[in-house]
Subunit: 386 residues, 2 copies
Amino acid sequence: MSEGYRYLDNGAATRLDERVLEAMTPFLFETYTVATSQFSYSLGIAAREALERARSDIAASLGAASEEIIFTSGSTESSNMAIKGVPHALANKGKHIVTTRLEDFPVLNSVKALERDGYTVTWLDTDSDGRLDPAALEGAIRPDTVLVSIQAANQEIGTLQDLAALAAICKARGVVLHSDATHTYPRLPLDVSSLSVDLLTLSTELVHGPKGVGALYLRKGTPLHKWMDGGFQEFNLRAGSENIAGAVGMARAVELVTPEETAGIQAMRDAALEQLLAIPQSILNGHATWRTPQNVNVSFRFVEGEAITLHMDLRGYALSTGSACFSRALEASHVILGIGGDHERAHGSVRLTFGRYNTLDDATGAANALAEVIERLRAISPLGKD
Amino acid sequence: MSEGYRYLDNGAATRLDERVLEAMTPFLFETYTVATSQFSYSLGIAAREALERARSDIAASLGAASEEIIFTSGSTESSNMAIKGVPHALANKGKHIVTTRLEDFPVLNSVKALERDGYTVTWLDTDSDGRLDPAALEGAIRPDTVLVSIQAANQEIGTLQDLAALAAICKARGVVLHSDATHTYPRLPLDVSSLSVDLLTLSTELVHGPKGVGALYLRKGTPLHKWMDGGFQEFNLRAGSENIAGAVGMARAVELVTPEETAGIQAMRDAALEQLLAIPQSILNGHATWRTPQNVNVSFRFVEGEAITLHMDLRGYALSTGSACFSRALEASHVILGIGGDHERAHGSVRLTFGRYNTLDDATGAANALAEVIERLRAISPLGKD
């Protein structure tokens, strides 16, 4: 990292923690063999035991049983596996899926793939803060509904859904519920012994865990068609040689997240938000309180997100924008548009994400720099002059 | 690793090379951000450049163009993506697939999944060394054949196929050819500018590269339906945040494999094979010369693979067997059975795999220990006494 350069985009949260690599190291260089059965050699058994310990630690972190945790290559795969695996297993029940317009791409585009394959999809709208009305979900469920997928928190604007209320509806109606918890787990409490969600997309990429590994929580008895074919690993639900070091690193990353740390990150978020919302013609994207502790997202009128990120880069801050070119998506943020924003609001949006390696000074420093950059850009902008 | 303990199962080849981790480290702790577009901040651009350098290095190693390399989470995913993605894209042409009975599980079980979904599959037999007769492939191709998948080398017995002859047939017949090259790349030369294969499953997990990362070679113009849905990464062919460190590590692992090293590994193989085939009632599994440099696989009559591995473990050697309990598969090695072996031959098979961290002493030491173990086991065995 350049001296003094501050990551405040999602990258802020993807820096690996040295303690995670330390936990992984024995499985890279010593017990690096494949996990084997008990009819085998001792180090294969040791590898298997480490894998099962990681699995049980992750299960315990969310009140699940060990056999309900399936390791994958990350959030994208976990969501593909859930969205494509449940409807396939419930083909006899129907071909109707319920989800929201604000889902992250793995869910959004997996559902669209099923839609192209003949499934009917109810795309639920949210309110202008990105929250889903449980009554809307209740009204959308049909006798042929095979899957509901609703994110725990939004990837861009940090809005938390009332997952408990939504899960209660699905349970009462006997419908399988999947939730992408990539942006809440393990920072926010999640307990599947009281929350009746059936599948969860999990990873620790955004809390300084390893890349290339994730998990799917699958409640016992939930029907799931195997998506990744091959060997018999992961209870014969997900093929591929086990990434022992990755699983161990993921478990270690979970362990390292503390409520105190999360409170500190939330203080950064609040400090930045307070300053940014004091800038004229700014608007908060997402909910003021139903919001992940690490997320700031504000739109500024009469400025372009790309210009902001380039100027902020020169001042030593990496942050992101919902503008199309930045994201390499084909269009402006579907999330900002989905909560009723227009293209200008999407193009003028700025997202900051705080992590373990940020400080309160990063938050206030970035907000100060943003205020200056926006003032300058507006001064030279042809927009908003009349 | 226990002092003096020698890995000779596939694990021998999965130990990470410290130099690979060293190449990955800057992307774990410094330039750890996501790869971004040029309308972004400098470190996101640096991450993207590192990713593209890794891609172009891997492409160069097999005579491909950069844009023909798609990063995945490993061999299993690459094969799923190929086997499920090509037929889906060629739905208008037909629903016939050709493969062999000896494929590794990711290909084997992906093809079986398609078979359950209504595809017709021609399962080609090989000869008793595991080699496929090109004339058999020629005879199997039909007007509605959408995909041929034939491994470059076998995962258990190391038999190399005559990929050049097979590829020429597919090219002449206008049929897409996929090959799982997990057990040859990058140890054996592979040049797609002369070899007309269309898709290749690639990883460096077996040459001391990182786990959780692999690649699919996809010849320009080959139709492929996107399998992993989500973001627009990897030319919009494979979603998921890029694993920059993983890609960089994979490229470094390729670079570290030299013909000299491979020749040394082949010498270990030959020394072990010579000793093991001198043991009475032994039989070579696989071809004597069309064989990967790292693979030894021999069956011994009147002994059980599990007993051999347990005794070898006590003597400080990890190796594997094609027996059912060891492999956690539901049945004895489909490869040994596929080349005409019976269950006794499968259960009495022993595989040794040599890698960078083995020596010629490991090979001869393991062979000596095996000779003793087999003699003892046979002395106490009720089998073969009449």
